[in-house]
Amino acid sequence: MTASASVATDNNRVREYLTFRLGDEHYAIDILTVKEIRGYESVTRIANAPEHVKGIINLRGEIVPIVDLRLCFGVGNSVYNEFTIVIVLHIHQRIVGIVVDSVSDVITLDQAELKPPPDFGVAFDHRYLIGLAAVHDDMIIVVDIGKMISSDELGLVDAQ
């Protein structure tokens, strides 16, 4: 038991993250939430949906919504071409695709390396922020993507 417990804490302390770019900013999300990475394809629009919800696609028989994170965060320019990337996430039994500018790398971060977000007003809602990390002179914003996707604000789930 003790052995497995220590492994568990290790797993909690050191995690792998997928990093991606939105405009000039670097973001990271827990790699365990990522199902696959694919190109952007045409979506079926949904009426009365928020602007950042681009529509739905057919992902091997599942009807999956696509959210443009660039529009959510107001960064980058929302162009859609053959280089546009969709990260398909699997969160709480739900599948959601997010559009980003590009996927950069998979990195390993120790919890200790994560700096708490500063207190002053950030454009980004710090409720969804796990922390900031400095990697190779870049600031990486580590996002709690599960919490964000299931929040009412994003309009992806029925309001509770």
């Binding site: 079926t44 629009r45 949904i46 739905i56 057919n58 009807i63 309009g155």
Partner: protein, 602 residues
């Protein structure tokens, strides 16, 4: 650890439930005068399995009760005990208590110990009473008991074929306990073809077919994937058409193979979800038996077409409406024996449950040979409730009135049908399954309720329409008519709302492109196509760009990964892999003026 145990529990609960259902069914079909040995064996095995399993998991209440039951059944199958009607009643009661107990364990509620104790007493009383009967002869040779016990029974049941009966009656004993009686055994086997005929029709289906228990989610996933293969296949076919030369021909041959394989695979996978409707029908012998004794009516139940297959999801949702209709037939439909005799009908009533497949539908009929519906009474009741109706209305529309909420022609509320749940609930249930109900009734001859259901819940008949670059599916059930409007029939209201005069009615014109916020070149109703749609509470004329075609589509949930969307009931995947939305007519167009004002201001 605890999770693992839970998994085993789940399997045990499901299996026990199945065993109990089999037991109940076999007990009901048991012929008291000539009990089928194989049936008795099956009942015994079922009880034995439950006892074993419950013992392992420490569900002591189950073990205790099944233990006594098992003991009695063992005696029955060894012909140390003769079955009686009273005994069967108690056994059936015992299966009920066992079901309740199983349910209590499953939901981790407290077990009704009092009921168990009562049941045990009842069962034990048989053991006692019967062992006293058997005592004197038991002291000698146990196996000889059977003959005195059994021989008289078939004999007075069927006096004409005495010689067959004697052989028949003596057979069970020799098989089981008397190896020396070989000549009789051989005689029996020789005779079986002759006497064997009647029992054939009540052969116990000793289902030993190998089966696998599969999570429905896994199945759905499989069905999804096969659907995807079908789409990929058709996309390949489109690409192949653009090829030419020698390769194209070879390619086409392979593609044809692929097409056949995928189609067969799709059919095979879809059929996995299909279950024979017998799993619902089998509960009705019990319902009828109990109701008829409660109401003091003699009723025969005839079941036909129970092998007809239906989607599992549908089957589960059919139980309640069917139970209601069967109860209704017995309680209201079939008259008391004295009334029946007075009108020259046999005193025994008959209820027929029948399932059949008609085209793309499954039809389930509940037919009784009772008094039929009373037209005058229904019309009077409707007028009393301010429901518009007149004497000239045709029968079908009069009968449909009984589905109105709070509509009951029963003079008194009985504990059978007066549970505050009316036929309106039945109708609503059937409608939510995408089905409909028809009633046929002839005064004095009986009533027949016919439920028409789609083959599966996952498919809807739809009309695909285009608006701009998008395709939408309108369920066929909502469509009244499609037409190209005549400019003369388009009227405007307050200079804004447009109405279409057709079928002696004004239909508000609703533009799908505006509702769905889609750009289109079609602005005027006369340039597009109007689809007249109707739902329970709304009717309007939907303006679309063009009709694409009629097809069956597989319904996919939008809410699984997204949220509910007004006006949309789900999505489907078209042949080219694109997603099309299925319209929900009920919520599509808000008739609310303030809502509309906002729409125009925008």
């Amino acid at each position: 650890m605890s999770i693992d145990m839970q998994q085993f529990h789940g399997v045990f609960f499901e299996e026990s439930q199945e065993h109990l259902d089999t037991m109940e069914q076999l007990l009901l079909s048991l012929d008291l005068t000539d009990p089928d040995t194989e049936a008795l064996n099956s009942i015994f095995r079922a009880a034995h399995s439950i006892k074993g399993g419950s013992g392992i998991f420490g569900f002591t209440a189950l073990t205790a009760l099944t233990h006594i039951l098992e003991g009695l059944l063992d005696k029955l199958r060894n012909h140390q005990l003769a079955p009686s009607r009273a005994m069967l009643d108690v056994f059936l009661e015992a299966t009920d208590v066992l079901k309740d107990t199983l349910c209590a364990y499953r939901q981790q509620n407290s077990v009704d110990d009092a009921a168990i104790a009562r049941m045990k007493k009842k069962l034990e009383s048989f053991q006692l009473s019967d062992s006293t009967v058997n005592k004197p002869s038991d002291d000698g040779f146990g196996f000889f008991d059977d003959q005195p016990l059994e021989t008289p029974k078939p004999a007075d049941q069927d006096p004409f074929f005495g010689f067959f009966d004697e052989l028949d009656a003596s057979t069970p004993a020799p098989i089981i306990e008397m190896p020396p009686a070989e000549p009789i055994t051989t005689a029996m086997t020789a005779v079986t073809p002759a006497t064997g005929k009647p029992p054939v029709k009540k052969t116990v289906d000793a289902r030993e077919t190998a089966s696998v228990r599969v999570d429905v989610e896994k199945l759905d996933c499989l069905i999804n994937l096969v659907g995807e293969i079908v789409i990929t296949q058709s996309m390949l076919a489109v690409m192949a058409e653009q090829l030419d030369g020698k390769m194209a021909e070879k390619f086409q041959v392979i593609l044809d193979d692929l097409e056949r394989n995928t189609r067969e695979m799709q059919e095979a996978v879809m059929s996995v979800r299909m279950l024979p409707v017998s799993s619902v029908f089998n509960r009705f012998p019990r319902v009828v038996r109990e109701l008829s004794s409660k109401l003091d009516k003699e009723i025969d139940l005839i079941i036909e077409g129970e092998q007809t297959e239906l989607d599992k999801g549908l089957i589960e949702k059919l139980v309640d409406p069917l139970t209601h209709l069967v109860r209704n037939s017995i309680d209201h439909g079939i008259e008391a024996a004295s009334v029946r005799q007075a009108s020259g009908k046999p005193s025994r009533g008959t209820v027929t449950l029948q399932a059949s497949r008609q085209g793309g539908n499954i039809v389930i009929a509940i037919q009784d040979d009772g008094a039929g519906l009373n037209r005058e009474k229904i019309i009077a009741k409707a007028l009393e409730k301010n429901i518009a109706v007149d004497n000239a209305s045709d029968d079908q529309s009069v009968w449909q009135l009984i589905f109105a909420p709070g509509f009951s022609t029963a003079r008194q509320v009985t504990d059978i049908s007066g549970r505050g749940v009316g036929l309106d609930v039945v109708k609503r249930n059937v409608l939510t399954l995408g089905g409909r109900i028809e009633i046929h009734s002839v005064a004095g001859q009986g009533t027949c309720f016919k439920i028409f259901l789609p083959l599966t819940l996952a498919i809807v008949d739809g009309m695909s329409v285009s608006v701009g670059n998008e395709i939408f599916i309108i369920p066929l059930a909502n469509i009244v008519e499609c037409l190209q409007p005549d400019a003369a029939n388009i009227k405007s209201l307050a200079g804004q709302d447009q109405l279409l005069w057709v079928r002696d009615q004004y239909w508000p014109i609703v533009s799908l492109s505006r509702e769905m916020e889609i750009e289109t070149t079609i602005e005027q109703p006369t340039d597009g196509v109007i689809v007249l749609v109707e739902s329970a509470h709304k009717h309007f004329a939907l303006l679309v760009d063009a009709l694409v075609g009629q097809q069956q589509v597989v319904i996919k949930s939008l809410e699984q990964h997204y949220r509910r969307v007004t006006g949309i009931s789900g999505a489907t995947i078209m042949g080219d892999g694109r997603v099309a939305l299925i319209l929900d007519i009920e919520s599509l167009y808000e008739n609310n003026p303030s809502e509309k004002q906002r729409g125009y201001a925008a």
